[in-house]
């Protein structure tokens, strides 16, 4: 009961503070009146009675304050007073307030924004059941690929023959032509083929319908499909009666059995539909151990450690390796937590950006701190007078800290708005950011911002507040009346802060420079083919509709012929993957003429596989090195010819003539020797990767089931031809969807987008930091010059030359710059090694970057020093001495 009484009183004194104060006053007034009345009754005059009563009563104002202090929440009142006072004094110096609030808003905003992204992407658990027990399992090629995609045969054996995991599931990328059912446009849908138990391993229930049955996940099983929520909404209007209906994928009817929940975006949000794992493979493919194209997820059993479970899988894998010795079958298996697997590609860039942003926050705090020291110097007299009037040091520090806190809180509030806008921008611009749809500002982020505000206030405010109040009142009062060499210690403090600021800026600049250089290198990589004025677009011929090789060849030749005849088209070709588009596929091969001698790559006897038509190489201006291109005789059953890349010739036929030799490859389901008819120049499959040995098979063989990319070289801007070319395709087959209408720079741009992104952002942070450092330097020097006007005046009056004064001030300003630079360069060297994995073709200690960045900083520093130094050197001694 007692605590309830107390609570009630606390509430009353908090919420009815004014009423309670009035009551207290009324009570005291009543007391006095009673006392006066009594004295008057006893015979005193009214005046005498009043005086006597007041004397008896004591100082009413003091007593009232004493009584109020007893109420809880005294601290709140004190805080409110401090805040009121701080706001008033900040309002008085608008320039200072706007600058500091702007700086903190920027820094806190950027930090919050990055935190929001990092938390949602890297830290939040995956939205599955017991997500910490999910791992991704990979094949492990010793000395080569620690995390290699898994062959279907490996997966099926792991699942059947080891028992360390609760269950294992696998999936593969695939895509389908989605035919129109009710006059929608045909489209190509990205899809995934998942094993029947995938959703139960993840612990996900479908939003509608059911998941796959084991019997459906078989070669020749029922054709069934599950829709993603977005496809369900977009193409079927969210109508639940689609369950049980049929849709045609690659012209083959599939029954819709379920719809996935809207939040389910694994492995990526672009996957539109799911089919059973085995439905996209033949029985033979399903049993292969050397065709690595699946991703495997496993759920750890609660009673078995991950280590033991993986040991069993690895042992089994080693047996398979020994069984197929010579074939590319991995020796081991490897695993990593599923969360880490999902975010693997973005972890380093995100960490780099976070570090950059923390650096910027520190620089911002140092800058505000610097401004506060300057402000404290200007308010020295005020502080001294307050001290003289009885304010304790703690009270003055508290007031100054409150002021800093107000600045940071205002900055934090604006920063939060900035962060919300920034987060939205970041997620929309960041290509393929995993879990991007889960990113939003929530309570945790608000809490984080509040924390950052407090830390920033402490960082920025404590040092200036302590130093401003360190002097005794008498010294401070004396000091402020003299201005010659008045506050050397304060200048020293500011220089120290400035040194730290510059060191951090240099580190940031170097990191940004390294990232930028790698990005530029990436963008200017030679693809090995023509890149200007080339239009590409992709389609795939459904095998159900174009059944025989002849039908496919007729379509191909007809299309090429139509496009070639368009005005403005210089050349046209057809290929399965254009350079820069990605890995595509690869195959292992042997050479009938001699065993493979390859010292460097003992296991790596595979080459990328492409199909190309006779016109492809000339269309993309890929040079012919030896032999000939394909011609129209290399078709159908006479298509047992192959063209190899220069890298393949160099790697597997060193010092030999290649043309006329053979490659024995499994292609189109059968192993056969292919005669090499030509050698062409190398192209890279992905920007930033070295050229890989490549085999080109004749397109006119009519092999089906591949996505084709049409390559059109044009006069002038290629995109203006897109419509005309698409019309030709529609004229041949109106139901055939076309995707990825792009130019080569666009294809390259997509794959380097993320490198571009992190380089741009870090550069932005570095640029802002440079600006902050420049402003800080300018501020310190201007302040120093103002402090030393008299001294400089005397020097000039005594005969010092203008150049000497100029030099004096410049030296003063550039000393912290030099020290900061030295520290920063050391830090920059360290940071280079930390971000090594995000660099391409750039050494961590790239001299060019270091020199360029140091020079940039020096230029900015010199510019920031020049104005104050010039002002100092043009001081008129007469005036300077008179103003004193």
């Amino acid at each position: 009961m007692r605590w309830m009484d107390r609570l009630r009183m606390a509430m009353i004194s908090l919420f009815w503070r004014r009423r309670e104060t009035e009551r207290l006053d009324a009570e005291m007034r009543f007391h006095l009146e009673q006392e006066i009345a009594e004295r008057v009754r006893a015979g005193a005059t009214t005046d005498e009675a009043r005086r006597a009563a007041m004397r008896e009563f004591g100082n009413a104002a003091v007593l009232r304050d004493e009584a109020r202090r007893i109420w809880s929440w005294g601290w709140l009142e004190k805080l409110a007073r401090d805040v009121r006072f701080g706001t008033r004094s900040l309002m008085r110096s608008k320039g200072f307030s706007i600058t500091t609030i702007g700086v903190t808003a920027l820094c806190i905003g950027a930090t919050t924004c990055l935190f929001t992204v990092v938390r949602s992407v890297l830290l939040k658990p995956l939205p599955f059941r017991d997500p910490e027990r999910l791992v991704a399992v990979y094949e492990h090629f010793r000395n080569q690929q620690p995390y290699n995609p898994v062959a279907a045969g490996d997966f099926l054996d792991w699942r059947a023959k080891t028992h360390g995991f609760e269950d294992m599931a696998a999936w593969q990328h695939t895509s389908f032509n989605l035919s129109s059912e009710r006059n929608e446009l045909p489209e190509v849908a990205r899809a995934a083929a998942g094993s029947w138990n995938l959703l139960s391993v993840l612990g996900v229930e479908p939003a509608l319908g059911r998941t796959f049955r084991e019997a459906e996940d078989r070669v020749g099983g029922d054709a069934v499909v599950m829709l993603s929520w977005s496809l369900f909404q977009r193409r079927f209007g969210g109508d639940p009666s689609v369950i049980g209906r049929q849709i045609r994928l690659d012209a083959k009817p599939h029954t819709i059995i379920g719809v996935l929940p809207s939040w389910f975006t694994y492995p990526e949000s672009q996957v539109q539909l799911w089919v059973p794992y085995a439905s996209v493979m033949s029985q033979q493919e399903l049993e292969r151990h050397d065709d690595h194209g699946s991703w495997v997820i496993a759920r750890v059993r609660p009673d078995v450690s991950l280590k033991n479970a993986m040991a069993a899988v690895s042992a089994l894998q080693y047996q398979m390796h020994m069984q197929w010795l010579g074939a590319p079958v991995a020796e081991d298996a490897n695993s990593r937590p599923l969360l880490e697997d999902v975010v693997h590609d973005v972890k380093t860039p995100l960490m780099v950006m976070s570090c950059a942003v923390v650096c910027m926050l520190l620089i911002g705090c140092l800058n505000v701190s610097n401004l506060l020291v300057a402000r404290a110097a200007a308010r020295q007299k005020e502080t001294a007078i307050r001290g003289a009037l009885g304010a304790g040091r703690a009270a003055v520090i508290r007031e100054q800290m409150t002021e800093t806190l107000i600045i940071c809180a205002a900055g934090g509030a604006f920063g939060l708005l900035l962060a919300m806008a920034g987060t939205r921008w970041l997620t929309s611009r960041w290509h393929d950011l995993p879990r991007a749809d889960a990113i939003h500002v929530d309570g945790m982020v608000l809490l984080f911002t509040a924390g950052v505000v407090c830390v920033a206030a402490l960082l920025a405010g404590l040092l200036p507040a302590l130093s401003a109040t360190s002097k005794s009142v008498a010294v401070a009062l004396q000091d402020s009346s003299r201005s010659v060499g008045g506050s050397v210690s304060k200048a020293a403090l500011r220089k120290m802060l400035l040194t730290a600021e510059i060191a951090l800026t240099v580190v940031l600049l170097i990191a940004a420079g390294l990232l930028l250089k790698s990005f530029v290198l990436l963008r200017t990589t030679e693809l090995g083919c023509a890149t200007d004025n080339v239009l590409t677009m992709a389609y795939s011929l459904p095998v159900k509709q174009y059944v025989t090789p002849e039908q496919r060849v007729v379509f191909t030749e007809g299309l090429l012929d139509r496009v070639r005849r368009l005005p403005g088209v210089r050349a046209v070709g057809l290929v399965t993957e254009v350079p820069g588009e990605g890995w595509g596929g690869d195959s292992v091969f042997t050479i009938p003429e001699h065993p493979i001698v390859d010292q460097e790559h003992k296991i790596d006897v595979d080459a990328l596989t492409r199909m190309a038509d006779p016109g492809y190489f000339s269309a993309l201006q890929i040079p012919l090195i030896e032999g000939r291109f394909f011609d129209s005789h290399d078709r159908l059953e006479r298509a047992d010819r192959v063209i190899v890349s220069r890298q393949l010739a160099r790697q597997f036929f060193p010092g030999e003539s290649v043309v006329g030799k053979h490659l024995s490859v499994e292609w189109n389901g059968k192993v056969a020797p292919y005669e090499i008819v030509g050698v062409v120049g190398d192209t890279v499959y992905s920007v930033g990767e070295p050229a890989k040995a490549t085999m080109y098979f004749p397109m006119l063989s009519g092999v089906g089931g591949h996505q084709m990319t049409l390559v059109v070289r044009t006069d002038g801007n290629p995109l203006t031809y897109a419509m005309a070319v698409q019309k030709q395709i529609a004229a041949m087959d109106p139901g055939l969807p076309v995707v990825d209408v792009l130019t080569i720079p666009q294809i390259v741009g997509q794959s380097t987008l993320n490198a571009n992104f992190s380089a741009t952002l870090v550069l932005l942070f570095a640029g802002l930091s440079l600006l902050l450092a420049g402003v800080g330097l300018y501020g310190v020097l201007s302040y120093l010059v103002t402090q030393r006007v008299t001294e400089i005046g005397i020097r000039i009056a005594l005969g010092a030359q203008r150049e000497q004064v100029l030099g004096l001030i410049l030296r003063d300003g550039l000393r912290p710059v030099a020290i900061g630079l030295a520290v920063g360069v050391v830090g920059g060297a360290g940071i280079g090694f930390v971000i090594r994995s995000s660099l391409y073709g750039t050494k961590p200690l790239e001299p060019l970057v270091f020199i360029a960045m140091v020079a940039t900083l020096l230029v900015v520093a010199a510019a920031a020093c020049a104005a104050p130094a010039w002002r100092a050197s043009s001081i008129d001694p007469m005036q300077a001495l008179r103003t004193e």
């Binding site: 009484d5 007391h31 008896e56 009584a67």
Partner: protein
């Protein structure tokens, strides 16, 4: 005037609790009562009553209620709570022990 001496300050609480233990009283009446009963010996500075009352109310020993005086004016009447009654007993015991001890020292 002058501050009430420390002894009185320390026992002001006890005096107030005792004074209102019989019936609810307003501030002025409490002050008068203390003066009367102590034969004007205990000169409590009248105003210092109010911070003490506030403190005791915050502690939950007394509670206050607005009511009418015999002359028909509005005043705040203080009365003891159960906790206050316990506190009164505690302070009374303390005081007895203290005054007995002082007696012993002074009279020996």
């Amino acid at each position: 005037m002058g501050k009430p001496n420390d002894l009185v300050q320390g026992t002001l609480g006890l005096l107030i609790l005792k004074t209102i233990s019989l019936e609810p009283k307003h501030g002025w009446a409490i002050a008068k009562r203390i003066q009367q009963i102590s034969n004007e010996v205990l000169q409590v500075q009248q105003g210092s009553l109010y911070p003490a009352l506030q403190r005791m109310e915050q502690q939950g020993w007394i509670r206050s209620k607005w009511g009418e005086t015999e002359t028909g004016r509005q005043a705040r009447f203080y009365s003891l709570t159960a906790a206050g009654r316990a506190q009164l007993e505690k302070e009374r015991t303390m005081w007895n022990r203290l005054s007995a001890a002082v007696d012993l020292v002074v009279e020996s």
